[in-house]
Amino acid sequence: MLTILFDGIAYGMLLFILAVGLAVTMGLMNFINLAHGAFAMVGGYITVLLMQKFGVPFLLCLPLAFVGSALLGALLERTLYRPLYHKPHLDQVLFSIGLTFMAVASADYFIGSGQQIIQLPEWLKGRTEFGDGAWMLGMGHYRLFIIAVCAALTVALQYVLTKTRFGSRLRASVDDQRVAAGMGINVNLVFLTTFAVGSGLAGLGGALGAEVLGLDPSFPLKFMIYFLIVVAVGGTSSITGPLLAALLLGIADVAGKYYIPKLGGFIVYSLMIAILIWRPQGLFVRKGGK
């Protein structure tokens, strides 16, 4: 039972890393970016290619995946996304879903459509167990690693958003761009950085997830639903909302599949519907936000 809880937490944390960038762009910048999964896929492929072709160690690949997808995010923000900030949401949806399909097709064309398999270093492969019987806790080392990375990220993000000057600038730019610009904040730069970091986080999530979720060109479409559920349930105005939502969904998904395998796939969706009926704006809503 504890093992199930543990697996659920690890899975939820992974969903969180994948989705938090979307919470940032969608919630803070008010841009519906359905191409988020494509950035995650880029991170995954950077890792896979670096490991397979150049023998770069796994741990080094993670920051590279982050930087790679962040740079790509910055480039696209400057060239494609920025003109769309003030367009209706429908335009943004169409644009970003188109971008997703292009990403899927290009990954297919350039890298091949096969499932990519990565080999983790030995020390991440094992498993530690405590106790036995119903209360046995078995922890896969890789899942422990995911939890650790995610916890560190959450603390860092929360700190940046609430305690730093950049965080206050970002919040100001989001709430009222004109006033923020009038106060001497370079709104464009703030948004560019934020978007790049959001994409980078997606890339990191993709790199971490390649082992657990698998990686092939359909990745952005396959997991788009999960990102959106996390963001919809968690609300988009904080970091803690999506975190708790991701944990809740991860645990519910894993436990549901374990205890009632016949219904397994439906648990997440039923939970989402229940929560959204109860709180249509998501679990955690910031008062006064747009």
Binding site: S113, G114, K125, D216, P217, Y258, G264
Partner: protein, 390 residues
């Protein structure tokens, strides 16, 4: 660009013979090959296309005075698309044979078109038992999961495996694999405490594998489409299930030759039952593997490739037998009952069911020359599809 040039450009992109459009209708024999070339099942499409082209390269593209043209279409594994492409191929391109079909729903969606247009439909990959019953024009050269699963249901209880949990993907072939394995295994005195079905697009196998672990069976029987097999295998090991005394068994999709090397040494010792292994020790297969590797560097043929290769052979032979004159019915009659030596070993097309009859091998993953292979150690001869033995 005028219209004709445009059509040519498209044809060049998708087909081996761009020129087939301009050759006089009467003298070409067209094979419409519908495969998933992109998307989840794309490795299936690539393998079959490569094998079909290899067969044509080896046997020439003129048979019985007719030029053979291959038109490859990508259905991205979506049955709707498969059906539309098949309609297009039959009506506009006037193909003589439809072939390919990566997944069961695609084959089933297309079967009525074969019946209506009296076009033979050669299934090269999809493996649900019922496909050949969907139309009298379906001929299969791949395999059925029932064939592979029943063999495992016979072998396991004789080798000390008495309690098995099954884990399959929740769609046609998975349900077939579960049903036929379970039936035979229970008949042989085994126990199946739990049968798990996993959604086809399942992101994480952890909860299912944990459940298996807690049930402590002697073995876990797995069927997932090739591609997902690697994920199951890795998580199986990561969870330490092999150390807990649980064996991994299944049909050969789990240890797909195409992906086996990527799975790493953890796959060593996994026992599966299937009709083809790259390591099948016969002269015909050695030649096939070598030629396939030469034409497609870095790729080795898997069971999908052999299905495509044999499918082309069945079509070629039927064309020869009808001297290039017959329509759909004559071709179909000439396909039924063909007996030949395939890279997989001896096989024939059962004239009554139009389904393949071949040997099923039991194989264990071993390392040879630094690479992983499914090495055959036992054989069950001439297995008919048990799904039709009623």
């Amino acid at each position: 660009m005028n219209k004709r040039q445009f059509i040519h450009a498209i044809a060049l992109a998708v087909s081996l013979l761009a020129a087939s459009n301009s050759i006089a209708q009467g003298n070409t024999f067209k094979i419409g090959l519908i495969l998933p070339m992109t998307g989840q099942q794309a490795s299936t499409g690539r393998q079959i296309e490569a094998a079909a082209k290899l067969y044509m390269a080896q046997n020439g593209d003129t048979v019985a005075g007719k030029k053979v043209g291959l038109i490859v279409k990508d259905d991205t594994s979506i049955p709707d698309v498969t059906k539309r492409l098949a309609q297009d191929l039959v009506v506009n391109d006037k193909v003589n044979v439809l072939a390919g079909f990566g997944i069961t729903p695609s084959a089933l969606a297309t079967a009525p078109i074969a019946t209506q247009s009296k076009t033979p439909l050669v299934v090269m990959a999809a493996a649900t038992s019922s496909i050949t019953q969907a139309s009298p024009y379906v001929v299969r050269t791949s395999f059925t999961l029932a064939q592979a699963a029943v063999a495992m249901g016979d072998w396991a209880p004789k080798n000390g495996i008495k309690k098995v949990v099954t884990l399959v993907s929740d769609y046609g072939p998975g349900i077939d694999a579960e049903k036929y394995f379970k039936e035979r295994f229970l008949f042989n005195g085994g126990q199946v405490p739990e049968s798990l079905r996993v959604p086809l697009r399942n992101p994480d196998f952890a909860p299912f594998l944990q459940k298996v672990r807690d049930l402590k069976p002697d073995a876990l029987f797995v069927f997932v489409p090739s591609g997902a097999g690697a994920a199951v295998m890795k998580q199986f090991l990561e969870r330490g299930m092999d150390k807990a005394g649980i064996k991994l068994i299944g049909t050969g999709d789990v240890t797909d030759d195409d992906q086996l090397n990527g799975m790493g040494d953890g796959a060593l010792g996994v026992v599966t039952s299937h009709h083809y292994s790259t390591a099948h020790p016969s002269a015909v297969n050695k030649k096939f593997v070598e030629a396939f590797g030469k034409a497609n560097p870095g790729l080795r043929p898997n069971f999908m490739a052999v299905g495509g290769y044999d499918g082309m052979r069945v079509i070629y032979e039927a064309l020869k037998a009808t001297k290039g004159q017959g329509g759909g019915d004559a071709l179909l009659a000439a396909m039924k009952g063909q007996i030949f030596e395939s890279p997989r070993g001896p096989m024939f097309i059962d004239a009554q069911t139009r389904d393949v009859v071949h040997n099923i091998y039991l194989r264990k993953v071993e390392k040879k020359d630094g690479q992983l292979y499914n090495v055959e150690f036992d054989v069950i001869k001439d297995v008919k599809d048990p799904g039709k033995a009623k």
